[in-house]
C-alpha cells in the first residue's frame, strides 16, 4: 500500500471511526474539515513515527506538513528520502 493510502486509512479509522462514506479529498484541510482537534495532531504524529519510523521535529509541526492527506504523504516521503 502506498504512503497516501496508509495515511488515508489511519485518518478514516482514527478520526472518522471507520466511516468511509464521508467524502475526504487528498488536498482537503483536516483542520477546516473539523476532523482534527488540538490533540488530534499528536495522534497523527504518534502514528507517523510508529508506522514510518521517522522522527517529527517540533519545527515541523506546521499545517504545511500535516494538514491534508497529500501534505502528510509528501512530508513522510521527504523525511524517508532524507534518511536513505
Amino acid at each position: 500500500m502506498d504512503v497516501a493510502s496508509q495515511i488515508r486509512n489511519f485518518i478514516v479509522e482514527d478520526f472518522l471511526y471507520g466511516d468511509t462514506t464521508v467524502p475526504l479529498g487528498e488536498d482537503e484541510s483536516l483542520l477546516q474539515k473539523g476532523l482534527i482537534d488540538s490533540t488530534g495532531i499528536l495522534e497523527v504524529v504518534q502514528f507517523l513515527e510508529g508506522r514510518f519510523g521517522i522522527a517529527v521535529e517540533d519545527e515541523e509541526l506546521v499545517p504545511e506538513n500535516l494538514d491534508s492527506i497529500s501534505a502528510i504523504a509528501r512530508y513522510v516521503m521527504r523525511k524517508q528520502g532524507v534518511k536513505i
Binding site: E13, D14, L16, Y17, G18, D19, V22, L31, Q32, G34, L35, D37, S38, T39, G40, I41, L42, E43, Q46, D58, E59, L61, V62, P63, E64, D67
Partner: protein, 660 residues
C-alpha cells in the same frame, strides 16, 4: 434549601394528594428534614425542606395573614432581615422569623415588583387564591432551578424534572434538538431541557399562569453602562470590589446551622475562604477534592491555603474507579447528558460535606464569568488582535501564553496555533466570534449521530438557535467585545451547566446547599461596569480581584495563573472492575436499541479510548456524551420509578393561620 413542586389545573377541583406525595418522594434528596403539602380547588403545592433558617417555625407551604397567598420556596433571601424591618415599619405582622414570610409580605405589596428587592438565590411559586393565579420566579443568575410543563389542562412545575415526570399526563422523551444543543454548546439552550415538552423558567424571569395561559417576563438584566475609561483608577475598583465581596460573604453566612467553604486550590475559593477568615467571626471549616492522578490534582495549593488560614480542613481523594462508580447516580441528578465527568468529583465532594454534618458551603463559583477569568476571554482578545494584522509573525506568539498547562497541546507550534485560532470557518454569526472555536470543536462529535437522530434534528441549526436566544445579538452592538463575550458565558454556560450540572444538582444530590458570594447581583453589576481594560489588564485575568486581595492571600496563590478545573474522562471507565455497566451501555446492541448513535462508530471510539491513553478532547467528549445519553435514557425513559414513598405521617398538610 429545598425542593418545590406543584400542579395547577384551572377550573378543576384539587389535584390528587397522591400525585403531590409522589412528586415529593422524587425530590426528597433536596429536603430530607420536613415535608408539606397544600391542596385547594385547582391548586396543589408541595415542599421538601432542608432546614437552615428559622428551624422551628419556617415550615412550608406557608400563607399570608388572610390565607389568600400561599408560597413554596427553594433558596435563600440573604437580605431578609433588612427587608423585614422595612415591612414591619409599614405595618406588616410576622408570625415566623423566616425569609419565606418576607417574600409573602413583599408580594402582597408589590406582586412581581417584589423581585427587584430580593438579594438571594431562589426559585418559588406563589398561589394567589383571589386572582386564581400562579406566580413562578427564579433568581437573577439561575442558581436555583425551576422547571415546568403542560399536561393536558394541568400546569406542572418542580425543582427538578423528575418531579414533573410523576404526573401521569407527561410523556418522557429525550428532545433531539436538545441533544444537538448539548453536542454543540455542552447544554440545552434555555428554556429547552433535555426532555421534550419540559421547559425551565429562565434565570431573572417570572412566569405568571392563569386560566388564559402563561406570561414570561424578564425582571433583571446585566448592566450595559460600563464605566468610561478614566473615570476611576484601578484601586477604586479593587477597593470597591473588596467592600462588596466582604458584604456579600457576610450576608451569605447567615444561617441557623454552621456554614463551610470549598477550597479548590484556585484563586476564587481562596478569596472566599480568606474573606470569611479576615472579615467575619465565622469558624472556618473547609473541604477539598484531590485526585489520584497528579495531572488533575491541586492538593499542594489547597494545603498552602488551609495552612495559611489555619482552617479545619477535610479532603477526599478521587480515583478513576470512583468516577465510574458514581457516574449513573450523577446522571440521575444532572437530568441531562454531559460531555465531561467534571460534575462527578463535585458530587463526591458534597457527600464529604454531608458526612461531616454540614448542610451549607460557600464556593468561588461565578468569579471567572464576571471578572473575566476564563482562557476563552483571553483567547478571543488575542484572536481579535491577530485578525487586525493577519500576516504578523509576532502576534500569534501571544497564544503561547494561553495554554501552557496542556500536556498534549500542539500550541508549541505557532503555525498551528494560528491555524486554529486565526479565522475559523464557522457557521456561527459574527457576534459569537469569541465562542465559535469552542462550539466548532464540540460540534465535531456529531459524527456519532445515528441516521434517525440526524433526521429528527432535521434542518434546525444551532447557529439559528443561539442567535434567537440572544435576539440576533442586539446587545452586542451596545457592548465592548470583552463584556459581550462575558455576557454570553454568564447567560449560557454559567446557569445551564456550571450552576446546574456542576452546581445545584451535585450539591443537592447530597442535601447540601451551595452559596456563591461572587454571584450577589450587586457584585455582578459592579464587576461588569469595570472598564474592560482594567477588568483584563493585558492578558492578566481577574486583575481587579487580585489587586483587591493583596495582603489577604499568600503571594503564590494571588499571582497564580488560572488552572481550569478538570477530571479524568474516558480513562475512568477502563480500570479493573469498574465500568462493567458502562461497557454494557456502550455495546453495539444497546446503542442500536436506544437509537441515538451509530453503533459501528461508537464501537470504534470505545476501542480507541481503551487502547490510547492520550485520547484527545474530541474523543473524550464524544465518549462521555454518548455514555451519559445512554444512561439518561435508561434511567428516565426505561427504568423510571418514583422510588420509596414518604410515609404519610411525615407529611404535614398545611392549613391557613388561625385568625389572630
Amino acid at each position: 434549601m429545598c425542593g418545590i413542586a406543584g400542579v395547577f389545573g384551572p377550573g378543576h377541583g384539587p389535584p390528587s394528594g397522591i400525585l403531590l406525595r409522589r412528586m415529593l418522594s422524587l425530590l426528597r434528596h433536596r429536603g430530607p428534614d420536613e415535608y408539606g403539602i397544600f391542596l385547594d380547588s385547582s391548586i396543589g403545592l408541595a415542599h421538601a425542606r432542608l432546614s437552615i433558617i428559622d428551624l422551628s417555625t419556617g415550615q412550608q407551604p406557608m400563607c399570608n395573614e388572610d390565607g389568600s397567598l400561599w408560597i413554596v420556596f427553594n433558596g435563600e433571601i440573604f437580605n431578609y432581615l433588612e427587608l423585614r424591618e422595612v415591612l414591619v415599619s409599614r405595618g406588616h405582622r410576622f408570625r415566623t422569623s423566616s425569609d419565606t414570610e418576607v417574600i409573602l409580605h413583599l408580594y402582597e405589596e408589590k406582586r412581581g415588583g417584589a423581585l427587584d428587592d430580593l438579594n438571594g438565590q431562589f426559585a418559588f411559586a406563589i398561589w394567589d387564591g383571589n386572582r386564581k393565579e400562579l406566580f413562578l420566579a427564579r433568581d437573577r443568575m439561575g442558581i436555583r432551578p425551576l422547571f415546568y410543563a403542560r399536561a393536558g389542562n394541568d400546569w406542572v412545575f418542580g425543582s427538578e424534572v423528575k418531579a414533573i415526570f410523576a404526573h401521569p399526563g407527561i410523556e418522557r422523551k429525550i428532545d433531539a434538538v436538545a441533544l444537538d444543543d448539548i453536542f454543540t454548546f455542552w447544554f440545552p439552550l434555555s428554556p429547552r431541557t433535555a426532555f421534550e415538552g419540559i421547559s425551565e423558567v429562565p434565570p431573572a424571569h417570572s412566569l405568571t399562569i392563569d386560566e388564559h395561559g402563561a406570561r414570561l417576563a424578564r425582571y433583571w438584566d446585566l448592566p450595559e453602562d460600563t464605566d468610561p475609561r478614566g473615570r476611576h483608577g484601578e484601586s477604586y475598583y479593587a477597593e470597591g470590589l473588596r467592600e462588596l465581596m466582604v458584604d456579600s460573604t457576610r450576608l451569605q453566612l447567615r444561617a441557623d446551622v454552621p456554614v463551610g467553604a470549598y477550597l479548590s486550590g484556585g484563586l476564587d475559593s481562596s478569596v472566599i475562604a480568606s474573606l470569611i477568615r479576615n472579615f467575619t467571626p465565622n469558624p472556618l471549616r473547609t473541604f477539598s477534592i484531590r485526585f489520584e492522578d497528579p495531572e488533575f490534582d491541586e492538593s499542594d495549593k489547597q494545603k498552602i491555603m488551609s495552612d495559611y488560614l489555619g482552617t479545619d480542613h477535610s479532603d477526599f481523594t478521587c480515583g478513576y474507579g470512583d468516577i465510574a462508580e458514581a457516574f449513573p447516580k450523577v446522571i440521575w441528578h444532572t437530568e441531562t447528558p454531559i460531555l465531561r465527568t467534571a460534575p462527578v468529583p463535585l458530587f463526591l465532594l458534597s457527600r464529604l460535606v454531608r458526612d461531616n454534618s454540614y448542610k451549607v458551603v460557600l464556593t468561588g463559583e461565578g468569579s471567572d464569568e464576571i471578572l473575566a477569568g476564563y482562557d476563552l476571554f483571553k483567547e478571543a482578545k488575542v484572536r481579535r488582535f491577530m485578525e487586525i494584522s493577519p500576516e504578523s509573525r509576532m502576534r500569534p506568539l501571544l497564544l503561547y501564553r494561553l495554554y501552557p498547562y496542556l500536556q498534549n497541546s500542539p500550541m508549541r507550534s505557532t503555525a498551528y496555533a494560528k491555524a486554529f485560532f486565526g479565522a475559523p470557518i464557522s457557521p456561527f454569526p459574527g457576534e459569537f466570534h469569541s465562542h465559535a472555536p469552542r462550539w466548532n470543536m464540540t460540534s465535531m462529535i456529531k459524527a456519532f449521530y445515528s441516521r434517525d437522530l440526524r433526521e429528527e434534528v432535521g434542518s434546525s441549526s444551532p447557529s439559528e438557535r443561539v442567535a434567537r436566544l440572544f435576539r440576533s445579538g442586539e446587545r452586542s452592538k451596545r457592548l465592548d467585545p470583552l463584556t459581550w463575550s462575558q455576557e454570553i458565558e454568564i447567560k449560557t454556560l454559567l446557569p445551564s451547566y456550571l450552576l446546574s450540572s456542576q452546581g445545584d444538582r451535585m450539591l443537592m444530590g447530597n442535601s447540601v446547599e451551595g452559596r456563591f458570594p461572587f454571584l450577589d447581583h450587586r457584585v455582578v453589576e459592579f464587576a461588569m461596569r469595570i472598564p474592560p481594560g482594567i477588568r483584563m489588564k493585558g492578558l492578566t485575568e481577574k486583575n481587579v480581584l487580585r489587586k483587591s486581595m493583596e495582603g489577604f492571600l499568600p503571594r503564590e496563590i494571588n499571582r497564580m495563573v488560572k488552572q481550569p478545573y478538570r477530571a479524568p474522562d474516558a480513562k475512568s471507565f477502563f480500570g479493573i472492575a469498574c465500568g462493567e455497566w458502562a461497557q454494557e451501555m456502550l455495546s453495539p446492541g444497546c446503542i442500536s436499541r436506544k437509537g441515538y448513535f451509530n453503533p459501528i462508530h461508537t464501537e470504534r471510539l470505545v476501542k480507541k479510548c481503551r487502547g490510547n491513553p492520550a485520547t484527545g478532547f474530541k474523543d473524550n467528549m464524544a465518549f462521555i456524551g454518548i455514555l451519559s445519553t445512554q444512561i439518561l435514557d435508561q434511567l428516565f425513559l426505561r427504568d423510571f420509578h418514583p422510588g420509596e414513598e414518604i410515609p404519610a405521617d411525615r407529611i404535614r398538610f398545611a392549613r391557613p393561620w388561625k385568625p389572630v
